[in-house]
Symmetry: C2
Amino acid sequence: MSSTRSTAGRGETRPSTGETRQSTRERGAGTRERGAGTRERGAGTRERIVQQSADLFRLQGYSATGVKQIVEAAQAPFGSLYHFFPGGKEQLGAEAIRVSGALYEQLIPAVLDPAPDPVIGVRNFFAGAAEHLRETDYADACPIATVALEVSSSSETMREACAQVFESWITAGAARHEAASLTPEKARELTIAMLCALEGAFVLSRALRSTEPLEIAGELMARATSDALGQPSGR
Amino acid sequence: MSSTRSTAGRGETRPSTGETRQSTRERGAGTRERGAGTRERGAGTRERIVQQSADLFRLQGYSATGVKQIVEAAQAPFGSLYHFFPGGKEQLGAEAIRVSGALYEQLIPAVLDPAPDPVIGVRNFFAGAAEHLRETDYADACPIATVALEVSSSSETMREACAQVFESWITAGAARHEAASLTPEKARELTIAMLCALEGAFVLSRALRSTEPLEIAGELMARATSDALGQPSGR
């Protein structure tokens, strides 16, 4: 999924939540915090480490992101990473995935709920993703997919974190389709189909530097949603 | 896309082509070849380096794969990588993407052409991908997608190689839909939609360790193909 409000630029992209704003506000406080060790200040450093990891993973993947780059981006002392994450990069990676997943899950109600009907909601979702991808020079798409493909066969800890995020998105999307009169089974199927189309469109759109795949996938899912609900697709 | 004949296991997965069989046959000859330097033997080493790179990239991505791991897997002297690829890992990566892309493109006619109609062909494609994913313990999916997501914002050389592969797959798929009476525009749209659904289903299926997303995406595309061709979907 794609944040519709974060800004472009490597290392500056931000999902749009209160937690993120707090993280941004606290940036630059790292030097003062070193050695302070109060629970409140420690929490700030921990959040910055998680947030910077999430940003870097989304842009360049898990393997290309070193712990040195993470602590530098978070303006945190090197040892703080292992203080907060004794399991090292893998434990941090799993937490960054869960935090990103929870933040981006908020886009599902934020985009779908205000739409006058589910078909328009689905169209708006893909159109927003395409607009955001263009605005970020094709950099900012899904916070999970790159890492999911990288680690699915090498880290069970991180694969499970990715799986939990996808399941939470499926649950959130399916709840909306159930509210629009679909059976639980059909609501789940339609949501999984939408996530497949969206994730695949991100892969093709980023590689092709074109929003054509997102536009085609959006129309595909608008029609599938319309068919499932037994209503005109609006085109 | 997924090879339907390669075998499971990291470092042993093989696309199913003559070039690959040759590469397999020549494995173990690396030590004897060192310093030999004939064009024929040099070509064997080069092919092994490219093939092993392609295998490792598909399983664990580009960033996690070091040049040391590649030359060891290829049983090639370390210097041979830079001899054949003066541009280093990035040049090798782009070539591995192109070679994998060309090999896997052969699956499009291999699966679609023998089917009695395009809807059954699409169903067979997704069913074969799901079966292969299960057989390889959810490891062997698309040879391009992981790398595409990793490099799209960091290596223009490799992004372009990924884009060329996706465009070649789109062209190959669209040719078949055109032969089934679709306009060039509709044939391209349907093929891009299918690739989006397939690539996204691989992301979710690998993370969830379940073929449910591939099955749902397959049914989605069977219906979309049926709608586009104006024929019953067979269910």
